[in-house]
């Protein structure tokens, strides 16, 4: 922003020249600015490539010395000889905790966004937005401490209830009833709170951009407020809400300190999400890095590479979904 101000003083002739494209006079300011912006773009690509190369080289070194199967081994014993480590538990734990977080956060976030844009009086909407921003500003370690010291003891009742009445679903079954809920479920709830602000804020902006004409048309047809939202607001905002959710998912996948403090990690892969155990990529790296040998560090980097790839895939999937939805809303608009 500042760069444009300094290097490109707006000469009066520029709009006309720009309109005529290349035939116009190119001034040094233009050239400097285009060079700078191109440079920033290239720098970003170089940076990404450098990270990818670094991760790949170190990861290849570790995987070649792994005495287990990197994809299917449950244990993470990278510092012992022979080193045996695999990402099965981490992959599962990362995905499950993120899915739980999304299942809780997305409906609530969309609800908050709709409330702020369509239901809340103006006087309430502002402060509410402010409070949501505040949620985003809390450092994740603070969420972690709150989770471990407050949320975990207070979730005991809920988990026992789930175990008792929904235990037949296998998912909510506790194999050792009454254990402290330091499990993937609690981690998921905490992650949901942490990704709530980003999903809410982006959804709110998207919902605000729904053309007034759409809503007025629905109202004119005699639709109630809920019907208006269902028929005109949600279809238009859907692709934006999906991309907001993917941003949230990205944060949930990579969240570290909060998970480390709340989750009781172990090499156990279980469908019972209320049993303590499991782990996530980022939490595993944080808890093993301090005492890792050089091979152990490379092994952690290898797991980081997998997380990198998963995040790429998630972003790619989101783009595909959005691109497809755009055609719909484009046709509608």
């Amino acid at each position: 922003m500042e760069i444009t101000k300094e290097t490109a003083p707006p000469p009066p002739a520029v709009p006309a020249a720009a309109a005529h494209g290349r035939r116009g006079v190119t001034r040094p300011g233009d050239r400097i600015f285009s060079g700078l912006s191109r440079g920033s773009g290239i720098l970003l690509l170089v940076l990404m490539a450098a990270i990818a190369v670094f991760l790949t080289v170190r990861a290849a070194n570790a995987i070649s010395q792994d005495h287990g199967n990197f994809l299917t081994t449950f244990e993470w014993d990278a510092n012992t000889t022979p080193p045996v480590f695999g990402i099965a538990v981490l992959l599962y734990g990362t995905l499950v905790s993120s899915v739980i977080a999304m299942a809780i956060a997305v409906p609530i976030a969309v609800g908050i966004a709709l409330f702020m844009t369509h239901y809340a009086p103006r006087r309430l909407g502002g402060p509410l937005a402010y409070v949501i921003d505040l949620l985003a500003a809390v450092p994740s370690i603070v969420y972690g401490l709150w989770g471990a010291l407050f949320l975990v003891p207070h979730l005991q009742g809920l988990t026992s209830w789930l175990d008792q009445y929904l235990g037949w679903t296998v998912i909510f079954d506790q194999s050792n009833p009454g254990t402290a809920p330091r499990n993937l479920f609690t981690a998921g709830i905490l992650l949901a709170i942490m990704i709530l602000p980003i999903i809410t804020n982006v959804s709110r902006e998207v919902i605000r951009q729904v053309p007034a004409a759409h809503e007025e048309a629905a109202l004119a047809l005699g639709a109630t407020r809920w019907e208006t939202i269902r028929m005109s607001v949600l279809p238009f905002a859907r692709s934006g809400i999906i991309s907001a959710s993917m941003l949230g998912l990205g944060r949930a996948l990579g969240e570290t300190m909060a998970v480390v403090t709340v989750l009781s990690s172990s090499d156990k892969l279980t469908a019972h999400i209320l049993d303590p155990g499991g782990g996530t990529f980022a939490a595993n790296i944080a808890s093993h890095f301090g005492e890792a040998t050089s091979l152990g560090r490379d092994a952690l980097i290898a797991s980081g590479l997998v997380l990198f790839v998963i995040t790429l895939l998630v972003n790619g999937a989101a783009r595909v979904i959005i691109a497809r939805r755009k055609e719909y809303s484009g046709a509608n608009a």
Partner: protein
């Protein structure tokens, strides 16, 4: 756009406030941990005994968090006596500390375990004409803490502990526990055994104890990472203590300084009566250790299966790691003077205030003469 930018600014400023708040909090926390309000008194008492020996400049060191509080207090005392010295010890973990030292970034490292052969080989690069040696310095007693309503005295032995932490004993009223505690009213409650989430020297020493004292009940190979299945894990010593505090029916191993306000189990080691953990009983077990390091190295092999009267066998010994020859010339005087001070009887005697175990006389003497020989 404008709105977003404003939000970001706002978020940043809140983040900054929160972070600085957290920093202030952690600073308070570590001060509290170092416990002992006698710190001030001992500082002035020790000041006269500290020999500065031309020490000056900045002394960088890093490593084990287990000895961080001890080093913190010692550096405070030392810097108060020798005004030209700045000591900066960062608790980054033993592995990272050794790495820092081997890359030549620090004057000495603190570690929960002695150097491995390949690390000694690597050290020849930074120690010109010499190699790195282990100097035992701080004993860390490891307590067995538990939280069980209505049970104030609990005695356990190694096989029972091993079975509890391996999820073989699942209830508090198990016959094995009842046999050791005939008087206690043990409830029919699930045992929740806490261990450390992250790799830690405390885990390493606790499992070494289980392996040495109950070989038929603890089959894991050992190491800094927890290998058994089941149980609960929590991050850091304080995380484990917090977990035990909030869970009825829990048990864990943790450093003595974190056991304040929690119940501690006694240990039936095979001595005539069960041993309770104190800094004294831990020192007694360290006295039973053998020096196994060769060629100037003083690494210890603890006798975890000791049956000595009144000796608490679950201890860890943390080392300072420095070059025997070829220490950097600019930091050598300060390194030597500081290490000499912390191995002195006065400094060691102050350890008990902070829930550490002082080195037994015999070992301390050897450490002192090794430090005299550093060059």
């Amino acid at each position: 756009m404008k709105l977003q930018r404003k939000n970001r600014l706002r978020a940043l400023s809140f983040g900054a406030i929160a972070v600085s708040g957290a920093l202030a909090l952690t600073a308070c926390g570590s001060d509290n941990n170092s416990g002992g309000n006698g710190g001030g008194a001992s500082a002035s008492a020790n000041a006269s005994n500290i020999k500065c020996d031309n020490a000056k400049g900045q002394l960088l060191a890093s490593g084990s968090t287990a000895q961080q509080n001890a080093i913190g207090q010692w550096s405070k005392d030392f810097m108060a006596a020798c005004s030209g010295v700045q000591i900066n010890y960062k608790g980054v973990g033993s592995g990272a500390g050794i790495q820092d030292f081997l890359q030549g970034n620090t004057a000495f490292a603190g570690s929960d375990s002695s150097l491995k052969p390949d690390e000694v080989a690597q050290s020849k690069k930074v120690c010109k004409g010499g190699k790195a040696i282990d100097l035992p310095m701080v004993g860390g007693p490891i307590a067995v803490i538990y939280n069980l309503d209505g049970v104030d005295n609990l005695t356990l032995d190694a096989p029972t502990l091993a079975k509890i932490f391996d999820s073989k004993i699942k209830k508090w009223n198990d016959p094995a526990i009842a046999k050791l505690n005939p008087k206690a009213k043990l409830p029919n409650l699930a045992i929740q055994a806490y261990h450390r989430t992250e790799d830690s020297g405390t885990t390493d020493n606790f499992t070494k104890y289980l392996k040495a004292a109950a070989p038929s009940d603890w089959k894991y190979s050992g190491g800094k990472a927890w290998q058994a299945q089941g149980g609960q894990s929590a991050k850091g010593s304080s995380g484990v203590a917090a977990g035990v505090k909030q869970t009825n029916g829990s048990i864990a191993y943790d450093e003595l300084s974190y056991a304040k306000g929690l119940q501690m189990a006694q240990l039936d080691t095979g001595a005539s009566k069960p041993v309770a953990l104190t800094t004294d009983s831990a020192s007694k077990a360290i006295a039973d250790a053998k020096i196994v390091g060769a060629d100037g190295d003083l690494s210890l092999e603890l006798n975890y299966a000791t049956k000595a009267e009144g000796a608490w066998p679950i201890v860890l010994v943390t080392y300072e790691i420095a070059c025997d020859k070829g220490n950097k010339a600019d930091t050598l005087p300060a390194t030597k003077a500081f290490l000499k001070y912390i191995s002195s009887d006065d400094a060691q005697a102050g350890l008990a205030n902070q829930s550490y175990a002082p080195l037994p006389k015999e070992i301390a003497t050897k450490v002192q003469s090794a430090i005299d020989g550093l060059s």
